[in-house]
C-alpha cells in the first residue's frame, strides 16, 4: 500500500479532470432530471386512476346513504289488527298491515280510482311498510285504535326518482315511474311529505331483493366473524411458524423445501384454497356450508403464508447484535426469542398480518366454493350461521337488474374501502409507533 506514489492520472494531454467532468456533467444532470420526470409521471398516473375510481364510486354511492321516506296517515284500525279485541300476539302478528298502508295511501289521494291506478299508487310504498307497521304495533300495542302520521319507506323506484336518477322527460314507456306516479310524487314533495332521511336500513338490515330494504349488516357481521376466525388461527400459527423457521429450524433441505412451499402458497390463486376448503372442511370434516367458521378457515389458509413471510422478514430485520447480547447473557434460545427478538419483530409481524387480513377481507373467490356466495336475509349471530361477506355482497348486488342496486353496490364498496383504509392505516400507525432504529 505505502508503495503507492502520486503519479499523473492517465488523461489526454491538455485536458485536466475539471474539463472532463464538466463535459459529462450536463448529460448526467439531464439523465437525473429525466428520471425524476418518469417517476412523477408514474405517480401521477397512479393518482389519477385512484382519483377516478374514488370519484366514480363515491359519486355513484353517496346518494345511497340517504333514503326517501313518505309520510302516510295511518289509522291502526282495531278491526283489522285485532278483530277479537283480546290483544292476542298471534293475531297481531298475522294481521293484514298492508291494508292499513293501502288505506293510508287512499287517504292521501282520495281521487285515485280504478284497479290499475290504485296499483300504481300502492307501488310508491315499499313492501316493507306493512312489516314496519307490524313491528311498531308489536312494540307498542297501545297504538291500536290510534291514528298517526307514519314515515314509511318508499319503493326503490320512487327513491331513485327522488334522487334524480330517472329522467322525467323520457317517454312514459321508457321509464319505470309512470306519469301518474310522477304527479303524485310531485304533490307529496311539494307538501313535504317525501323526505330523504339517513339510510339506516343500509346499515341495519341483511340482504333483500327489494333495493330499498337491502342492507349490508349481514355481510358486515359475516365478514367480522370470518375475520375473527382467520385472525385467531392464522396469527398464532403464522407467528409460531415464522419464529420456528427463522430462529430454531436447522437450515437443511427440508426447511428449504418448506420455505419454497410457503412462498409458493402465497402466490396460489385464492380459488384453489376454496376448493381445498370444500374438500377438507366441508366434505371431510362435515362442517356446514356458508358458515363463517369455514370461511375463516379457508381465508386463514390463504393468509398464513403472507403472515409467515412477513413474520420472517420482521425477524430477520431484528439485528443479530440483540440476539448475541441476550445469548451472551446466558439467555436460552427461547428466552432470547421471547424476551427480545419477538417483541422487536412484533410491529412488523402485526403490519404483515393486518395487510394479510385486509386481503382476506376483500376476498370473494374462495368463498364461492364453500357456499358463502349466497342470498342470506338473516344477520348471522354466530360462527355457524349461514353468512356472506362484504365483497361477495358487492358482487351479488352488482349482478342484479334493479337500477337502485347500482348506488347501493357503490355504497357497499365505499364501506369496504373504508375498512381497508382503516386496516392499512392501522398497519402504518403500528409501524410508525413501534418502529425502532439501530
Amino acid at each position: 500500500m505505502n508503495k503507492l506514489k502520486p503519479s499523473a492520472a492517465p488523461v489526454a494531454p491538455g485536458r485536466d479532470i475539471k474539463t472532463i467532468v464538466n463535459a459529462s456533467l450536463k448529460r448526467r444532470h439531464a439523465a437525473e432530471r429525466r428520471f425524476r420526470w418518469y417517476g412523477l409521471i408514474a405517480i401521477g398516473l397512479g393518482l389519477i386512476f385512484v382519483a377516478l375510481m374514488f370519484t366514480n364510486i363515491i359519486g355513484k354511492g353517496y346518494p345511497a346513504f340517504w333514503q326517501a321516506y313518505v309520510q302516510v296517515p295511518i289509522t291502526f284500525d282495531p278491526a283489522v289488527i285485532d278483530p277479537q279485541g283480546n290483544r292476542d300476539p298471534k293475531a297481531i302478528e298475522t294481521a293484514d298491515y298492508a291494508a292499513l298502508v293501502r288505506a293510508g295511501m287512499r287517504q292521501l289521494f282520495p281521487a285515485v280510482q280504478g284497479r290499475l291506478e290504485l296499483r300504481a299508487l300502492y307501488g310508491l310504498i315499499s313492501s316493507d311498510a306493512a312489516y314496519e307497521l307490524q313491528r311498531q304495533v308489536q312494540q307498542n300495542p297501545a297504538l291500536i285504535g290510534a291514528s298517526q302520521e307514519v314515515w314509511l319507506l318508499t319503493s326503490a323506484t320512487v327513491d331513485t326518482f327522488v334522487k334524480g336518477n330517472i329522467d322525467r322527460t323520457l317517454d312514459e314507456t321508457e321509464r319505470l315511474v309512470k306519469d301518474n306516479q310522477i304527479e303524485w310524487i310531485d304533490k307529496l314533495l311539494a307538501a313535504g311529505k317525501i323526505q330523504k332521511q339517513f339510510n339506516t336500513v343500509l346499515f341495519g338490515n341483511g340482504d333483500s331483493r327489494e333495493p330499498e330494504q337491502a342492507g349490508i349488516r349481514g355481510a358486515l357481521m359475516g365478514s367480522f366473524f370470518t375475520l375473527v376466525v382467520t385472525f385467531l388461527l392464522s396469527f398464532p400459527i403464522g407467528v409460531a411458524t415464522a419464529v420456528y423457521l427463522e430462529e430454531f429450524a436447522p437450515k437443511n433441505r427440508w426447511t428449504d423445501l418448506i420455505e419454497v412451499n410457503i412462498n409458493n402458497l402465497a402466490a396460489v390463486p385464492s380459488i384453489v384454497f376454496g376448493l381445498l376448503g370444500l374438500a377438507v372442511f366441508i366434505n371431510f370434516f362435515g362442517l356446514p356450508r356458508s358458515a363463517p367458521l369455514v370461511g375463516g378457515l379457508v381465508l386463514s389458509l390463504m393468509t398464513l403464508p403472507v403472515i409467515i413471510i412477513a413474520g420472517r422478514a420482521a425477524l430477520t430485520s431484528v439485528p443479530p447484535s440483540i440476539r448475541e447480547a441476550a445469548l451472551g447473557m446466558g439467555a436460552s434460545k427461547l428466552q432470547t426469542v421471547g424476551h427480545h427478538v419477538l417483541p422487536l419483530a412484533m410491529p412488523g409481524m402485526l403490519t404483515g398480518s393486518i395487510i394479510g387480513m385486509a386481503r382476506a377481507l376483500g376476498e370473494s373467490a374462495p368463498l364461492l366454493m364453500i357456499g358463502m356466495v349466497a342470498f342470506i336475509v338473516d344477520v348471522p349471530k354466530s360462527f355457524m350461521d349461514p353468512a356472506t361477506v362484504l365483497p361477495v355482497q358487492i358482487y351479488l348486488w352488482s349482478d342484479l337488474p334493479e337500477r337502485a342496486f347500482v348506488e347501493r353496490t357503490s355504497a357497499a364498496i365505499m364501506v369496504l374501502l373504508a375498512f381497508m383504509i382503516l386496516m392499512n392505516g392501522l398497519a402504518i400507525v403500528l409501524r410508525k409507533r413501534f418502529e425502532r432504529r439501530w
Partner: protein, 347 residues
C-alpha cells in the same frame, strides 16, 4: 413444538365444531344453482321468510352445473334441498343423483327468461333474424356460391344483408360458462345455421361436424366476451352505440331508457311476446326439489307452494315484476298442482 400444539388444537376445534353441527339439524332451506334463477328464487325466499314462521332460505348463486353437482352430492343436512336451473336437468346429472341415493326429484318449471339482443337507444333499431345473427357470429360459414365452408370475414352488418346498416359487427356477450350463452347458442345459432342447405347436407354426412359448425362462435373480435355481469354489458352498450349486447330480459326491462331490444325474426322482445312463445329466444327456468328432504328440513313444501302460487309466478305476481316471464295460465295450474303434490320426475 408450539406449532404442533396449535395445529392439534385447531384440528380438535374443527372436529368438535363438526360433531356439534352434525348433531344439530339444519332449520333453514338450502338452495343452490343458476344465477339466472337467483333473482327470482331470492325474491320468493324473502317473501317466504317474512310471511311464514320458517327461517328465510339460504340461496347460493353457483351456476346451474355447480348447483346440480352440490344437489346430487347426497341426502342429508349437509346437502342442499333445492337446485335452481336455467335448463332442464341432464340425464348424466340424474344418474349422478341416483348413484348418490337421490331417487326422487321434483321438477318445477317456473317460467321463462327471454334473451335479448339489445343496443343503445342512440342507434336505429336493426331488425335481425336468427340467420343473420348466425352469419354474423359463426366462425365458419358456407360460401354463398359453392356451399363450401369458409372462414367468416363479414366486417359489417351490411356485408351480411344489404338491408342492414354498415355498422361494424360487435356483439357483447357472456362467456361460455354462462347459461345465457348456452341458451343463445341453442336458440339462435343452432336455428340460424339450419337455414342453409350446405349445413343440412353436412348434418346428414357428419352430424358432429355440423353441430360444431353451427355452434362455434368466431374469435376475431366480432363477438366480445364481456363477463357474466349483465349490468356491465348494459353500460358498455351505452358507451358504444354501434355494439349489440346479449343478456336476460329483466335487464332490458330495467333499462328501457337507455337501451332497446332488437326484433328477432320480426318479433320484438316484450313481456307478452315471450310469454306467448312468439319471441324465439326464450328458455324455460326450473327448480328441482330433493323429495327425500321434504319433512326433514322444515318448510320445503311451503316454499314450493309460495313459489308456485299465483301471487308469485302468476301474470301479475311479484316475480313478473322482477322480470320473470310467466307460464301460460293452464300450464301454470298444472305445474302448481304437480309441484304441490311433489310429483317426482319419471326416470
Amino acid at each position: 413444538m408450539i406449532k404442533n400444539k396449535l395445529a392439534l388444537a385447531a384440528t380438535a376445534t374443527i372436529a368438535l365444531a363438526s360433531t356439534a353441527y352434525a348433531q344439530s339439524a339444519r332449520d333453514y332451506i338450502s338452495i343452490v344453482g343458476s344465477s339466472t334463477v337467483y333473482p327470482f328464487s331470492t325474491a320468493v325466499a324473502e317473501q317466504f321468510g317474512k310471511g311464514s314462521s320458517f327461517k328465510t332460505p339460504k340461496v347460493e348463486s353457483t351456476g346451474t352445473g355447480g348447483g346440480f353437482k352440490l344437489f346430487c352430492g347426497g341426502v342429508g343436512v349437509q346437502h342442499p334441498d333445492i337446485s335452481n336451473a336455467s335448463r332442464k336437468i341432464k340425464s348424466s346429472e340424474i344418474e349422478t343423483c341416483a348413484k348418490n341415493g337421490i331417487k326422487e326429484i321434483v321438477e318445477v318449471n317456473v317460467g321463462f327468461d327471454g334473451i335479448v339482443v339489445a343496443s343503445s337507444k342512440k342507434n336505429k333499431p336493426m331488425p335481425l333474424t336468427t340467420k343473420n345473427l348466425w352469419l354474423a357470429l359463426a366462425k365458419e360459414i358456407p360460401d354463398p356460391a359453392t356451399g363450401k365452408l369458409v372462414a367468416n370475414n363479414a366486417k359489417t352488418w351490411k356485408d351480411i344483408d344489404a338491408t342492414l346498416p354498415a355498422n361494424k359487427i360487435e356483439v357483447l356477450g357472456p362467456p361460455p360458462t354462462s347459461g345465457t350463452r348456452d341458451a343463445f347458442v341453442e336458440l339462435v345459432m343452432d336455428h340460424g345455421c339450419k337455414e342453409f342447405d350446405a349445413i343440412k347436407e353436412l348434418e346428414k354426412s357428419d352430424e358432429k361436424k355440423a353441430k360444431a359448425v353451427c355452434q362455434t362462435i368466431r374469435e376475431d373480435g366480432a363477438f366480445i366476451e364481456a363477463g357474466e355481469n349483465d349490468n356491465l354489458i348494459v353500460n358498455k352498450l351505452v358507451a358504444n352505440p354501434n355494439a349489440l349486447g346479449l343478456f336476460g330480459y329483466s335487464f332490458l326491462e330495467e333499462n328501457l331508457d337507455k337501451i332497446q331490444g332488437e326484433t328477432i325474426d320480426g318479433v320484438a322482445p316484450a313481456f307478452e311476446s315471450i310469454a306467448d312463445g312468439k319471441y324465439p329466444v326464450a328458455r324455460p327456468l326450473f327448480f328441482y326439489v330433493k323429495k327425500a328432504h321434504v319433512g326433514v328440513i322444515p318448510g320445503i313444501k311451503e316454499y314450493v307452494a309460495e313459489f308456485t302460487s299465483e301471487k308469485a309466478m302468476g301474470d301479475e305476481g311479484y316475480l313478473s315484476a322482477k322480470g320473470l316471464i310467466p307460464l301460460p295460465a293452464a300450464k301454470r295450474k298444472q305445474v302448481a298442482a304437480d309441484a304441490n303434490s311433489l310429483k317426482a320426475m319419471t326416470p
